[in-house]
C-alpha cells in the first residue's frame, strides 16, 4: 500500500505544479505581457477564479503526505525550516496581491501589488525547482532521522551542501523558465488582443530555452543522482511518462497556432517530467547524503497499513468530487478573460 500512496502523493504534487505552475508563470510574466491597467486586470481575471483552488492542491498534497508518510513530512519540513517560512511569506504576498490589487483605484497602489505579484510568483517558481533539486540531491539525514540544512555552504552539490548549490539553483532557474513558458501559453489561451500577442511572443522565446535547459538539467541530474536514470531504464511501466514529457514538448512547438492544444501539451510536458522523475526516485522520499541507510523510503516512513487503506477509501470518494468542482470552475474559463471580471 505504501507504494501506491507514493504514486498518489507524487501525482497530487504533479497536479499542483501543473496548475499552480501556470498562475506562477502568469504572475512572473505579469509586468511584461500586461502594460496598462486594463490589460493587467485581464491577466488577473484569467487567473482570478482558479489560483486559490490551484493552491488547495498544495494543501491537499501536503495533508496526504503528512498522513501517508508522517516521518517524511516531519523530517522534511523541520529540516527546511527557514526555506519553508520563506515559501509561506511568498504565498501570503501573492494571495494578498491578487486579492487586494483592484480594490483601490490608485495607480501607485496597483503598481505596488502588480510588482509584488510578479516578484513573489517568480520566486515561487524558483523555489519549486530548488525544492525538487534538494530532494533529488539528498539531505544530510543521520541516525536521528532528522536533519537541518543551512541556506548555502560552498555551492558544491556534494558533501555538506546547503539548500542552495549549483544544482538546486540550476533546477530553480529551469523551473522559472519552464513555468513562465507554461504560464505564457495559459495566458495566450485565456486572453485576446495585446496580452495574447505578448504572451505568444514570450512563449516563442521561452520554449526553446526550456528545451535546451531541459537537456542541461538531465545531464546535471546524471552527475548528482545517476541512480534515477538506471531505475527508470529498469522500470518499463514508467517509460510512458518519459514519452509523455517528450510528446508534450514536441506538441508545444507543433501546436503553435492553436492555443488550447499548446497549453495542454505544455501541461503534459510538466506532468511527464515530474512523473518520470518520481518513478525514477521511487522508493526514496528523501535520500540521505551521509549514508544511504539513513534515507527516508516509502516503506520506512509509511503510516500503518490499516490507516493507509482507510485513506484510500475516502481518497477515492473525494477525488471525483474534486474533479466535479474543478469542472464547474474551469467551465467558466471557456470564455476569454475580461477586465470587468476583476
Amino acid at each position: 500500500v505504501s507504494g501506491l500512496w507514493y504514486g498518489l502523493v507524487a501525482a497530487m504534487l504533479t497536479v499542483y505544479v501543473v496548475l499552480d505552475g501556470f498562475d506562477f508563470g502568469a504572475g512572473a510574466l505579469h509586468l511584461y505581457v500586461a502594460r496598462e491597467d486594463r490589460e493587467r486586470r485581464e491577466v488577473l481575471a484569467s487567473i482570478g477564479p482558479v489560483w486559490d483552488g490551484n493552491e488547495v492542491w498544495l494543501i491537499a498534497s501536503g495533508g496526504v503526505l503528512f498522513f501517508a508518510f508522517p516521518h517524511a513530512y516531519a523530517a522534511g519540513f523541520s529540516g527546511f525550516y527557514l526555506p519553508l517560512m520563506l515559501v509561506l511569506w511568498l504565498l501570503a504576498a501573492r494571495g494578498l496581491s491578487i486579492s487586494v490589487r483592484s480594490h483601490l483605484d490608485d495607480p501607485l497602489w496597483r503598481a505596488f501589488w502588480d510588482a509584488a505579484l510578479c516578484g513573489s510568483s517568480a520566486l515561487m517558481a524558483v523555489v519549486l525547482g530548488a525544492a525538487l533539486g534538494n530532494v533529488l540531491r539528498g539531505v544530510p539525514l543521520d541516525a536521528s532521522g532528522y536533519f537541518l540544512t543551512p541556506w548555502f555552504t560552498n555551492f558544491h552539490a556534494r558533501g555538506a551542501a546547503g539548500v542552495l548549490d549549483w544544482y538546486t539553483l540550476l533546477l530553480g532557474l529551469f523551473a522559472l523558465v519552464a513555468l513562465a513558458a507554461h504560464g505564457a501559453l495559459f495566458l495566450a489561451w485565456r486572453n485576446q488582443g495585446a496580452v495574447r500577442e505578448r504572451s505568444l511572443k514570450a512563449a516563442r522565446v521561452l520554449w526553446p530555452v526550456v528545451g535546451g535547459g531541459g537537456l542541461v538539467a538531465i545531464v546535471a541530474t546524471e552527475l548528482v543522482r545517476p541512480e534515477i536514470y538506471r531505475a527508470l531504464a529498469a522500470r518499463p511501466w514508467a517509460w510512458p511518462l518519459a514519452l509523455l514529457a517528450a510528446l508534450g514538448l514536441a506538441g508545444v512547438f507543433f501546436f503553435r497556432a492553436r492555443d488550447l492544444p499548446a497549453f495542454l501539451s505544455s501541461s503534459a510536458f510538466l506532468a511527464g517530467t515530474l512523473g518520470a522523475t518520481a518513478a525514477g526516485l521511487f522508493p526514496l522520499l528523501l535520500p540521505s547524503t551521509i549514508d544511504p541507510k539513513y534515507s527516508i523510503t516509502a516503506a520506512g516512513a509509511a503510516a500503518a497499513d490499516h490507516g493507509l487503506r482507510i485513506g484510500l477509501a475516502w481518497w477515492l470518494l473525494g477525488m471525483p468530487l474534486v474533479a466535479l468542482y474543478m469542472s464547474i470552475t474551469f467551465r467558466s474559463l471557456f470564455t476569454k478573460a475580461r477586465a470587468e471580471d476583476h
Binding site: 498544495l58 491537499a60 508522517p70 529540516g79 511569506w89 486579492s99 500503518a304 490507516g307 467558466s332
Partner: protein, 430 residues
C-alpha cells in the same frame, strides 16, 4: 529565551490565534449570508459576501502556515501522531478546501452569470465547505484532547478504529460549541454594522443586518451556554478533571463545591484570593448534583498540572463572563427588535460589542489548549516531547518576528478594505 520549545509554542500560539480571527467570521457569516439569501435580503447578502471575500483571503493566507507548522515546528509530534491526525488534515483538504475555493469565486463574481438559483447553490456549497472544514479541524483537536481509535505500536500512534476517531464524543460537542461561537462572532459583526448604519441615519441599509444578526445572535448565545457549553464542561469534568480544577481555581477537593464567579488564583499559596462564590454550584454544573465531590489540583501530581494555571483561569472566566453578557445584550436587542424601535444606547452597545466575541472565542481556545497542557496528545505525549529537535531557537524567534510584521501589515490592509466596504454599505438591487 534560548529554549526552542518556548519559541515553538509562541510561534504556533501566535499564528493560530491570529489565523482563527478570520475563519470564525467566515464560517458564521457563510451561514448568515445563506439566511439573507433565503429570506430575500439580496442587498445585504451581496454586501456581506464582499466582506466574506476579503476575510476569506486573509484566512487562507494565514491558514497555510498552520498546516506547515505541524512539520516545521512539531516534527517529533508529526512523526508520532501523523498517521492519525494526518487523516483529518488530508480529508479537510480533499473534502472541504476544494469545495470552498471552487464556490467562493462563483459566489463572489458569478451572480450575474449563474442566475439566482445557481447562485444560491454556490452560497450553500460555500457554507457547507467552511463548516466541513471546521469539523475536520475539530476532530484533529479532539484527538489531542481525548484520544480515541488509536493504538500505540513501536512508539508511534496507529489508527485502529476510524469511526471512533472520526465520531469522538469530544469532537461532536467541541464542534457544536465552536460553531455556535462562530455564529456569535458573525451575528455580532452583522448586527453591530447594522447598528452603525442605523446610528448614521442609514436606517434602510441597517434593517436586514440588524434583524438577522440579532435573531441569529440570540439563538447562538443560548446554544453556546446550553447544551454545548454544559456538555463540554461535563466531558472536561470526566476526562480532564485537573484542567477543570485549574479553570475553576479549585485547589482542594470539595463536596458541594462552590463556583467562583471572580477571584485571583495564587498558585504558590494554593488558594483563590478575594473570591465571590455561588455555593454548591460547581458540583452541580460539573456532575449534575450538588453533593458530588469536585477534585482539586492538590489531588493530582504536580507534573500533571497545566503549566499556566493563572492564564487558564482568567481565560476561562473571561470566556464565561463575556458569554453571559452576550446573552443579556442580545435579549435586550431582541426585545427592541420585537417592539420595532431601537434606542440609541442599545445601538451603540451593539456596535461597540463587535470586538468582544473575538475575545471570547480566543479565550475559549486558550482554555482548551492551556487546559490540555502539559500534554500535546492527552496522556500520550507531552508538549516538551513533540517539538522539532534540530530547529534552533533563534530561527524560530526570527521568523516569529517576521510573522508579527507580516500579520500587522495584513491587519492594516484588512481593516482598511473592510472599512471602505462598510462605509460604502449595501447597494440597492439594480
Amino acid at each position: 529565551m534560548s529554549d526552542p520549545l518556548f519559541w515553538h509554542r509562541v510561534q504556533f500560539g501566535f499564528t493560530i490565534t491570529f489565523h482563527y480571527l478570520f475563519p470564525q467570521l467566515t464560517m458564521g457569516l457563510a451561514l448568515l449570508i445563506l439566511i439573507f439569501k433565503l429570506r430575500g435580503h439580496e442587498e445585504a447578502a451581496r454586501f456581506w459576501l464582499r466582506v466574506l471575500g476579503i476575510n476569506f483571503a486573509v484566512g487562507v493566507v494565514t491558514g497555510i502556515p498552520m498546516e506547515f507548522q505541524f512539520g516545521t515546528n512539531w516534527a517529533r509530534f508529526s512523526t508520532f501522531a501523523g498517521g492519525i491526525i494526518g487523516q483529518t488534515l488530508a480529508m479537510e483538504g480533499t473534502f472541504a478546501f476544494f469545495l470552498e475555493s471552487s464556490f467562493l469565486a462563483l459566489a463572489l463574481f458569478g451572480e450575474k452569470k449563474l442566475g439566482p438559483r445557481k447562485h444560491l447553490a454556490a452560497v450553500a456549497a460555500l457554507f457547507a465547505g467552511s463548516w466541513i472544514s471546521g469539523y475536520f479541524i475539530i476532530v484533529t483537536n479532539a484527538f489531542m484532547q481525548h484520544p480515541r481509535g488509536h493504538a500505540l505500536v513501536n512508539g508511534r500512534l496507529e489508527l485502529v478504529d476510524f469511526t471512533a476517531f472520526l465520531f469522538n464524543s469530544w469532537a461532536i460537542w467541541e464542534y457544536l460549541h465552536n460553531m455556535s461561537a462562530s455564529v456569535i462572532t458573525a451575528a455580532f459583526v452583522v448586527a453591530g454594522i447594522g447598528a452603525f448604519w442605523t446610528l448614521q441615519g442609514r436606517v434602510r441599509d441597517g434593517a436586514a443586518s440588524l434583524r438577522v444578526g440579532i435573531i441569529a445572535g440570540l439563538i447562538a448565545c443560548a446554544l453556546q451556554l446550553f447544551p454545548t457549553g454544559d456538555r463540554q464542561g461535563k466531558l472536561l469534568a470526566e476526562h480532564q478533571p485537573v484542567a477543570l480544577a485549574a479553570m475553576e481555581g479549585v485547589f482542594r477537593a470539595e463536596k458541594y463545591a462552590d463556583l467562583a464567579i471572580i477571584g485571583q488564583p495564587d498558585v504558590d499559596k494554593q488558594r483563590l484570593e478575594n473570591p465571590i462564590y455561588v455555593p454548591g454550584m460547581l458540583s452541580f454544573l460539573a456532575y449534575g448534583s450538588f453533593g458530588t465531590t469536585v477534585r482539586g489540583l492538590s489531588d493530582f501530581p504536580r507534573d500533571q498540572w497545566p503549566d499556566n494555571i493563572e492564564l487558564l483561569y482568567y481565560a476561562y472566566h473571561v470566556m464565561v463572563g463575556l458569554g453571559t453578557l452576550f446573552i443579556a445584550l442580545m435579549l435586550l436587542a431582541a426585545w427592541q427588535l420585537r417592539r420595532g424601535v431601537f434606542s440609541r444606547p442599545v445601538l451603540w452597545m451593539l456596535m461597540l460589542a463587535i470586538p468582544f466575541p473575538y475575545i471570547a472565542n480566543t479565550a475559549g481556545w486558550m482554555v482548551a489548549e492551556l487546559g490540555r497542557q502539559p500534554w500535546l496528545v492527552y496522556g500520550l505525549m507531552r508538549t516538551s516531547e513533540g517539538s522539532s529537535l534540530h530547529v534552533p531557537a533563534g530561527d524560530v524567534a526570527f521568523t516569529t518576528l517576521g510573522f508579527a510584521g507580516l500579520y500587522a501589515l495584513l491587519s492594516i490592509v484588512f481593516l482598511f478594505l473592510t472599512g471602505r466596504e462598510i462605509a460604502r454599505g449595501p447597494e440597492p438591487v439594480p
